[in-house]
């Protein structure tokens, strides 16, 4: 409450705060303001040093309301780790001022809100569709759009560029060679498209197109019960699927107001850190492969397979594990599993060092990456970078330290921070994070708390199979929960966890029914990738490839 009171005093006199609503709900600070005040308010909050990160902008649709849409801004302060959610109502056919003047990172988030809801942002230079294809008609996340109404696409757009102020838009310059890379290109990970104008080997102008893997996650979440959304979250960042499960379940649990038992917390930490390690192995292995070093890929996959083995033992699946449930875990770990994890830690440590020797100590790799396309700390914050990319730029921000959850504050680990923000630093940070993750896993595995792996609230968690088949009460509870569904109270929450790529946020709105009313994902690499055209401008083409690789773009969470 304190922060809100301070904010109230700060804003008094500068804004008409009698029109503002200061709300503290489900642990979040919320500020509801008229839409006219939004651009100035954002600018003020940033300039006065209250909040330095704009984490997310999204829309929400309430068709029965007078003013149909909510535009929601999620702010974060790295100083005191506080968050603020600003909401403004916008009617159909109305527009709201852009946040681009305050944060450059607002660019793609606003485009997405336009694409999904048709909310118009005044002053946005390039308000085009971003996730759906260019022939798409309508705005799919509006409540009156059918979830399975497909619209075929018959062709791809020719090479085009952003209409930035001062640049001639889609007009190609005769002096330069237009070059299209992807989406079917090795270095573009199957789903990214980069268009560039080349002066020899130098990139004069560049644009990136996404949406080739837009699988409508948010619409799917609105049409499925809470627990059935978990498999969809697996497929956001599929390189580290358990972390998405955890992030989502944590958001729902906060809305429900339940705390999971210590054993479930420990298991989630172990799963999360194992995932962080294998996510980084993919980032590093394929990153090196994009630079021509194939060998590290094979070493990396050897490591990855060993971790897959542990996942398989735990739940039967290798990649998309869906191991968490709202309220805890799906099942207990098998006998001796924690010891096997401990034994694997040695192997992971050895493997990490071996890979580090091959990659970051490699002369060619160093020459390809050191000092290439650096991003300063200031720019990184402007764009909304989080995770290893931000830390490589020298900003010490890790949600596991800043807003600890699941007892991360009890664990002894360090947060590696880079200095120059170049590509080389990003890999150094990732390697060190792998080592730190192993440290965390060892500490947790050595004293796993006893007790249950899930809460036993019969309105939230299904009874165990033996009770369902064995006694009438279990059967009834099972029946009731399946038929009625898990129903969080009316309300909304924004919850974030530190995943391998940065801050993974879930903005969840519940209307008291069995399906989420709105679920917005704040994917870390979405914010990062929007900076790509600016970062590689003036660089060599080969450096652009190295930059894409170092950003660790996972299309599943980028396009959702």
């Amino acid at each position: 409450m304190n922060k809100l009171e301070n904010l109230k005093q700060l804003l008094a006199g500068k804004f008409k705060i009698e029109n503002f609503k200061f709300i503290h709900a489900v642990g979040d600070d919320v500020l509801e303001v008229p839409k006219e005040d939004v651009p100035n308010l954002l600018m003020f909050l940033k300039e006065s040093g209250q909040f330095d990160f704009l984490m997310d902008i999204c829309g929400a649709d309430y068709p029965t309301r007078d003013k149909r849409f909510d535009v929601v801004y999620n702010l974060f302060s790295s100083k005191d780790s506080s968050r603020l959610r600003i909401k403004a109502q916008v009617g159909e056919g109305e527009s709201i001022g852009t946040a681009l003047n305050a944060w450059r990172g607002a660019d793609w988030f606003e485009r997405e809100a336009y694409d999904m809801f048709g909310i118009v942002f005044d002053g946005h230079p390039n308000l085009r569709r971003i996730l759906t294809h260019h022939q798409f008609v309508g705005h799919p996340l509006r409540k009156d759009y059918e979830a399975d109404l497909q619209q075929p696409c018959t062709n791809s757009l020719p090479i085009h560029f952003n209409n930035e102020p001062g640049s001639p838009g889609d007009v190609l310059n005769d002096k330069y060679v237009p070059l299209n890379i992807g989406p079917a290109h090795t270095a573009m990970h199957g789903t990214l498209r980069v268009m560039a104008e080349m002066d020899g080997e130098t990139i004069v102008r560049c644009n990136n197109e996404i949406g080739y893997l837009h699988r409508c996650f948010e619409k799917m979440a609105e049409t499925h019960p809470y627990n059935q959304v978990i498999p969809y979250t697996d497929r956001l960042n599929y390189c580290s699927a358990p972390m998405n499960n955890i992030g989502y379940c944590k958001a729902v649990e906060r809305l429900l107001g339940v705390e999971i038992p210590p054993k479930a917390q420990a298991m989630r930490i172990i799963l999360a850190e194992l995932s962080r390690v294998i996510d980084h192995t993919i980032a590093i292995g394929t990153g090196a492969m994009d630079l021509g070093a194939l060998t590290s890929f094979f070493y990396m996959f050897g490591l990855r397979e060993q971790v897959y083995g542990l996942f398989e033992k735990l739940c039967g699946a290798r990649l998309t594990v869906s191991m968490t449930r709202v309220g805890g875990m799906a099942q207990d770990a098998p006998e001796g599993w924690f010891d096997e994890v401990l034994a694997l830690c040695k192997e992971l440590r050895r493997g990490t060092d071996e890979m580090a020797g091959m990659v970051v100590d490699n002369k060619i790799f160093i020459q390809r990456t050191r000092g290439i396309c650096p991003v300063s700390a200031q720019d990184a914050i402007q764009w909304g970078y989080t995770g290893p990319m931000l830390r490589a730029s020298g900003v010490n921000l890790d949600l596991r330290k800043a807003t600890p959850y699941y007892g991360y504050d009890q664990l002894d680990f360090d947060v590696p921070v880079g200095t120059s923000g170049d590509i080389y630093d990003r890999y150094l940070v990732r390697f060190e994070e792998m080592r730190q993750s192993v440290r965390i896993i060892e500490q947790v595995c050595k004293n796993v708390p006893a007790g249950d792996y899930t809460i036993r609230d019969k309105g939230i968690v299904l009874p165990e199979k033996k009770d369902v088949y064995g006694n009438i009460e279990g059967l009834m509870n099972h029946f009731m929960l399946v038929i009625k569904g898990l129903r969080p109270p009316v309300g909304e929450v924004y919850d974030a966890t530190e995943v391998a790529n940065g801050e993974l946020g879930f903005y969840l709105v519940s209307d008291g029914s069995a399906n989420p009313y709105r679920l917005k994902v704040r994917p870390p690499c979405f914010a990062i990738y929007q900076s790509f055209p600016t970062v590689v401008k003036g660089a060599m083409l080969a450096d652009a490839i190295a930059t894409v690789a170092s950003m660790n773009l996972i299309a599943g969470e980028l396009d959702r």
Partner: protein, 184 residues
């Protein structure tokens, strides 16, 4: 006269011995079979990994499962150099024209494997931007179930395709295929 002499000398050497020798080093077959044998054991896949299945396909190529044992380790990222298109991952409406063009650029003979639920049928994405199976735009020879399929299932799929090639299984879906984007 001369021929008789040669015949005679061959007889003198012994036809039996010559026959035995040739059996050790040669066998008889039809040309078709030899070609099919070569084709099935040297599939060059183009991994079209768009999503989660792409990561599992990397596992198949990786050290533990090692697709090289089936002669298919030479991953080519140019459709011109590949004869097996492995669609590993969800194909969206936006991607559909791209993958059709990639398929058209491949040279004959060419085969397509749809790896996983999404590529086969859209999977659990019954959604506004997801193509409900890649066979809506290109002809598929083998479907591999799973979300994602285990590497063993992928190998099973590749072996099924190898058998199709060896047996000269008719492929009407491919022979009658026309690009959905070309106006007749």
């Amino acid at each position: 006269m001369h021929n008789d002499q040669v015949q005679g000398s061959a007889n003198a050497l012994g036809t039996q011995a010559a026959d035995d020798m040739s059996r050790d080093i040669a066998f008889t077959s039809k040309l078709d079979h030899i070609v099919a044998w070569g084709r099935k054991n040297s599939l060059w896949p183009m991994p079209y990994g768009t999503a989660c299945c792409g990561i599992e396909f990397m596992s198949v190529m990786g050290p533990k499962y090692d697709l090289a044992r089936f002669g298919a380790e030479v991953a080519r990222f140019s459709p011109r150099q590949a004869d097996l298109l492995v669609v590993a991952g969800t194909i969206t409406e936006k991607m559909a024209p791209v993958i059709t063009r990639i398929y058209q650029q491949m040279l004959e003979p060419k085969y397509v494997i749809a790896m996983g639920a999404c590529a086969s049928s859209g999977g659990f994405y019954r959604a506004y931007h997801v193509l409900q199976g890649v066979d809506k735009v290109i002809p598929v020879d083998v479907y591999i179930p799973g979300c994602p399929p285990t590497p063993e299932a992928v190998m099973d799929g590749i072996m099924a395709l190898q058998k199709m090639i060896a047996d000269h299984t008719p492929r009407p879906w491919k022979d009658n295929w026309k690009s959905p984007y070309e106006q007749a």
